[in-house]
Each structure stands twice: as C-alpha cells, then as structure tokens.
C-alpha cells in the first residue's frame, strides 16, 4: 500500500468517501438534529459540507505532500528533519481542524447550538484533518519514512 501511485490514489479516494459519509450521510442527520434559533438545518448543512470539504482538502493535500517528501532520496539521509516535517504537519492539521470549527462557530454563534454538538462537529473536522493524516501516513507512508508517524 505504500507504493506510488497506489498510496496517492487510495488517499484521495478515502478522503472523498469519508467526506461523502460525513458531509452527505451523517451531515444530513446531524443538521436535522440541531435546534437552531433562526437558521434552517439546510443552511447549516451547506456550511457544514463546505467546512468539511475544506478540512478534507487540507487533510488530503498534506498527506500527499508527505508522500512526495517521503519518497525523495534526499529524505533518506535526513530522517530527523523528516520527523520534524511530519510532526509540524500533524500539528498544523490539529490547528486547521480547530480553526475550521471556529469559523463554523462564528457563523452560528447566536443560533444556540449545544456544546455537545460542537464537539461532534470538532470530531468530524478532526476525522478529515489530523486523524486522516495520521491514519494514511501510518498505513501508507513511503518506505523511507514508514516508521516516522506516531505510534508506528
């Protein structure tokens, strides 16, 4: 699974499937379950889909960059730098998930969404960003950097 271009293709496919599951299937149910002051569930759903789309794009692009970086011959002799690159990417993914959530919170700040629902939204963002990045790099990192992701 860590051979190019298989890892690239699987990652994009997985990101898209995950977005369909979270934004289309679960997103609909989740939006319907919310009690909003003025906005409609459809409005929230469309925003949620856009935010999840951005999160998924960030997750996919960062993972693809890691595959590219990890497959460079020069990386083989610079694993300490590679460790830093992976960790910085991972932290950026966490920051991205929080930032996207804040954008959504800012849009619906006056709608009275429960904290538990924001936590669910954060879980969805995380699924597309740092968790997606960790899972894909854990399973499909190029040979040179395959043991760099956390817990590998």
């Amino acid at each position: 699974m860590n051979k190019s271009p298989l890892n690239y293709l699987i990652t994009v496919a997985l990101g898209v499937v995950l977005w369909v599951i979270t934004a289309v299937f679960y997103g609909g149910t989740f939006s319907e379950s919310l009690i909003l002051n003025t906005s409609t569930p459809d409005q929230f759903l469309s925003h949620l889909r856009i935010m999840l789309g951005i999160a998924a794009a960030i997750g996919i692009l960062n993972t693809i960059y890691w595959y590219y970086y990890g497959s460079l011959d020069s990386t083989a002799a610079e694993l300490n730098k590679a460790k830093k690159v992976w960790m910085i990417s991972f932290i950026l993914q966490i920051i991205a998930s929080v930032a996207i959530l804040f954008v959504l919170i800012a849009l619906y700040l006056t709608e009275g969404v429960a904290t538990a629902d924001w936590l669910i939204a954060f879980a969805l963002m995380s699924l597309h960003t740092w968790f997606f990045y960790w899972l894909c790099t854990f399973l499909m990192s190029p040979r040179t950097v395959q043991y760099i992701p956390l817990f590998k």
């Binding site: 011959d73 020069s74 990386t75 083989a76 002799a77 694993l79 590679a82 460790k83 040979r143 040179t144 950097v145 395959q146 043991y147 760099i148």
Partner: protein, 527 residues
C-alpha cells in the same frame, strides 16, 4: 577437489598474500585456500600486517552468517592451528647468523676443506650479519638456510599432512610467491621450488615424473623503488640492498632460472617498469611497512588462475606466463585474470564488480553504518533498521538482538578492522601517479594514506561529498554519480534478508552488503 596452497616468501610474498586475502574477502578467491608465510624477519611490518589480516579474515568469516548467494568472505582460508605456525621463521632463535647456522666456527677443525669452500662462497659480512631482519638482498645466504625445511612442524606440516592423506596426481596445488630481486624471496623461491624439496619429495612423488603436487609460482620482478634513509652512517656499515641492485639481481636470478631444472610446472612472471616509490628504505622489522601495489593484486590473480585450471591427469607440462599493460595506464581491463582468452573480459568484469561492491560495502559501513550503531536504538526510524532490529533494550532476553552488544559487537568490531584494512589497501593502489585507474582514492579518503594508521574517510552524508560514492571508479564512463541518499533509499531500504540469518551482527553486515550490490548494479552497471 584439489587443495590449494599459497606460500608467501619474504616481504613481497607477504604483500601478495595480503592482496589475495582482500580479494578472497571480496569474493574473488577459490573456495578453499591454505596459506602460510616464510620470513626470518618475524617483526617485519609487511609480515605483521598480513598475519593480522589473515587472522582477522578468519574471525570475520567464522562469525558471519551469509545471505544465500553472497560472495563476501567466500574463501575458506586455512592456517596452522597455532597462529605462530603461520610463519616459518627459519631460525628458531634471535641473533642467528649464517656462520652459526653452518657451524662455521668449528668447521676449520672438523672439515677444513668445507670451511675454505664456505669462505670462498661467502664474505665475512655475509657470514656474520645477524639475519633477524631477513637476508638483506643476499639470496645466497637464504638458499643455504632454507634448503632444510621442517616437514614435521607447522606450517609445512599442514601441507605434508595433506600429502600423506592424498594420493592423486597434481591434486595439491602449491603456489609460491616471492620477489626475484630481494633477499628472502629470491632465496626461497628457487629453493622451495627445487624438485627435491616439495615437488618430488618422497611423500609427494607418485612416479618418476608424476607428483601429487602441482607446483606453480609467481616470480615478482622489480616493481617498486624506495628512497634511502637519511641514516647513511648505518647504511654504509651494514649489508643491504638498494633499488640500483634490482636489475643486476634480477638478471642473475633469471639466468639461474633458465639454466636450473627446477620443480615448477607453471611460473608467472610479473613486474612493473613504472617502479613507484613505496616508502623509505628500512632494514626490516616493524619499519619495513610498505604501501600496497597493484602488482601484488596481479600476483594474487596469477595464483587464483593457477588454482582454477582444470585437473591434469598425467605429468604436468611446464608453462610460463607473463602479462603486460597496453599502455602506461593500468585499468581494470589490463589486469591479468585468467589464462583462458575467451573468459578474460568476463573475469575482469567479475573482479571489477566484486572489488567495487566490497569498497562500497566497507565505505558505507565504516561511515553511515557506524553512525547508526552509535545512535540511540529507540530514536532510530530508518526503515531498514527498524525492519530487522526490533527489540526492547530493557529486556535481557532481547540483548542478543542488539548489534551493539556482546558477541555481535565483537563481530562488528572485527569487521570494522577488516574494512579499514580493505579500504586502506584498495586506496593505496591509487598511488597518485595518475597511472593506476582502478578505485579513486580521492573519493574515499581525506588527505594522504599512512601505513599503519587508520584511514580517514570522507563523510558521505555531507552535502558536498555525498556524490563521492557514485564516482569511485576512476576514468570510467559507467559512473552514474548516484549519491549516498540513493544508497540508503534504493539500497539499504530495498534489502530483503534471508530469515535464516538470525545473528544481529550478520544481519547488519548483510544488509550493507546487499545494499552495496543493489547500488553498484544501478550506479556502476556491474552485477
């Protein structure tokens, strides 16, 4: 299967054996080879270097579990059981002189005619100079003392035990190597090569003209020169040989070989008209430690060619071989690898491939390999390392899996010593004259080489030197210049080891060797 013996006589003999051992390590030697040396100068630097190398080789080979098909340390080198028996020192005690050896003091009383005869044959200096440092370019002394070899003592016992247990004609292939122009080699080569000493010794003889021994030899003609030491007061008083004496000594010796009916079946003549300087003149002992030279490689190749010839059923026909370069430059394609014309190119490629591979292997191990071993196991994320070295450092049971500990450490230390010797040896072939175009020393070593000192290797992980590994072959269009990152990414990371290799040090070494094979194939187009 025929048994192969390589006997190095004198300083040149020791240096040829050094080259043979390195080639065996690279995988170019025969399957089995018994080695011993003849030299009265037991402290000779060249001899000590070769002795250490042989014992180091045997240790490395014993400790190494090899990947299937691997050629590294292929030759089973056999030496006498007692390491001291590896060298026939000729004189049992220090301070020996020819006069003592032939009991010259009592000779006028016991045998006055013989005493007069000895006085005619030998000068006062020749009779009374101590021979602890060899025969000092006077083979006539050596010829007397070497005619009486101790058959029942090691190292000759090794050969004569085999003769006692074997009865097939030409099945014991004995190859002598020594210089024609010095002292010990010039004396020992024709003496041991005379019919009655080895070839038709009673244990070796089958019929009148048929022996168990197929006797070959490489007679090394002058191939180096040296500077005279500043200590001229000593050189004026003492007996020694200079480069100027070489041609006369050689001419006289060759005349002798032409006239004398010796026991050799096959002789190879080797020499080099370029005569590079190999250091300053020294009388002997530890100070006589010369730089390796490619003629020693050519001489080893002669021995290997001798061992590789097909079985000879009846009396062996006499054959003489010689080889020369096509130009002043020496390239891989100039090395005399075999007597079979149709196989020359193939064997030259094989030699080039194995030596290049061994060079990459030793270089990568001594630089990057040592750095990884020095690093903290838990922090290492190198894929090749993590794949093959999974263990918990705190668990006592897992200590055997750590290449940094116990027997694995000893084995890797032994290999480190060998790899240093190999890189020193192969780098020294490139004598800075620009004439030898084998491995490029400048790509491997920082500064000048110094005999007896560890080589100072160029770091292959630095930005400005990481492509050096891709340009090791001198003046070769086949260098692709792949850098050290390529060696890690497509060499080390692509290695798949046999599961039967369980020992940690063997795993570690095999990973580097297999990576060297992959890298050399990609970068140098050698298989």
């Amino acid at each position: 299967m025929p048994k192969n013996y390589l006997i190095g006589i004198g300083g040149t003999g020791a240096r040829v054996i050094e080259a043979a051992v390195h080639l065996c390590a690279a995988g170019f030697g025969p399957d089995e080879l018994s080695i011993f040396l003849v030299d009265p100068d037991s402290g000779n630097g060249n001899l000590s270097r070769t002795k250490s190398l042989i014992t180091n080789y045997i240790k490395c080979r014993k400790q190494l579990q090899k990947q299937a098909g691997s050629s590294i340390f292929n030759t089973d080198i056999k030496i006498p059981p007692d390491e001291k028996g590896l060298v026939w020192g000729i004189f049992p005690d220090k301070g020996a002189t020819l006069a003592n050896f032939i009991n010259f003091k009592n000779m006028p009383q016991n045998n006055p005619e013989l005493a007069d005869f000895a006085s005619v044959l030998f000068t006062h200096d020749e009779l009374n100079t101590t021979l602890d440092m060899g025969f000092r370019g006077h083979p006539s002394i050596g010829a007397v003392v070497m005619a009486d070899i101790p058959y029942n003592e090691y190292p000759f016992k090794l050969l004569f035990d085999d003769l006692a247990n074997n009865k097939r004609a030409n099945d014991i292939r004995v190859f002598l190597v020594g210089s024609v122009f010095g002292g010990t080699g010039a004396a020992g080569f024709p003496t041991l090569g005379s019919k009655q000493i080895l070839k038709f010794h009673k244990l070796a003889k089958i019929e009148d003209n048929l022996s168990q021994i197929l006797l070959g030899g490489a007679l090394v003609l002058p191939y180096f020169s040296f500077e005279l030491n500043a200590d001229t007061s000593r050189t004026e008083k003492e007996m020694f040989v200079t480069t100027k004496d070489f041609p006369i000594a050689t001419k006289a010796a060759l005349q002798y070989y032409e006239e004398k009916d010796l026991g050799f079946d096959q002789i190879y003549f080797l020499g080099d008209s370029l005569a590079p300087k190999v250091g300053k003149f020294e009388f002997g002992a530890m100070k006589q430690l010369n730089m390796p030279h490619y003629i020693e490689v050519a001489s080893s190749l002669a021995a290997f060619d001798f061992y590789e010839q097909p079985d000879i059923k009846g009396p062996a026909p006499q054959m003489l071989f010689t080889a020369c370069r096509e130009s002043e430059k020496l390239r891989w394609s100039d090395l005399p690898v075999t007597r079979e014309a149709l196989k020359i190119r193939e064997k030259q490629m094989e030699l080039k491939s194995l030596v290049t591979r061994m060079t990459v292997f030793c270089y990568s191990f001594l630089t990057y390999g040592k750095r990884i071993l020095a690093a903290n196991h838990r922090e290492l994320k190198e894929a090749w390392y993590v794949d093959y070295f999974k263990f918990n450092q705190r668990d006592e049971k897992d200590k055997l899996k750590d290449p940094r500990l116990g027997q694995s450490k000893e084995a890797l230390d032994d290999f480190e010593t060998f790899a240093n010797s190999f890189l020193f040896w192969i780098s020294a072939m490139d004598d800075n004259s620009g004439m030898v175009e084998l491995i490029d020393r400048k790509m491997l070593v920082k500064g000048e080489l110094d005999t007896g000192k560890k080589v100072s290797l160029i770091d292959p992980e630095q930005d400005n030197t990481k492509t050096n590994i891709g340009y090791l072959l001198k003046s070769e269009g086949s260098n692709k210049g792949r850098d050290f990152n390529d060696f890690i990414a497509n060499g080390l990371n692509a290695v798949v080891l046999d599961k039967k290799i369980t020992d940690a040090s063997s795993k570690y070494l095999n990973i580097f060797y297999e990576a060297a094979i992959k890298y050399c194939k990609a970068n140098y187009n050698v298989n």
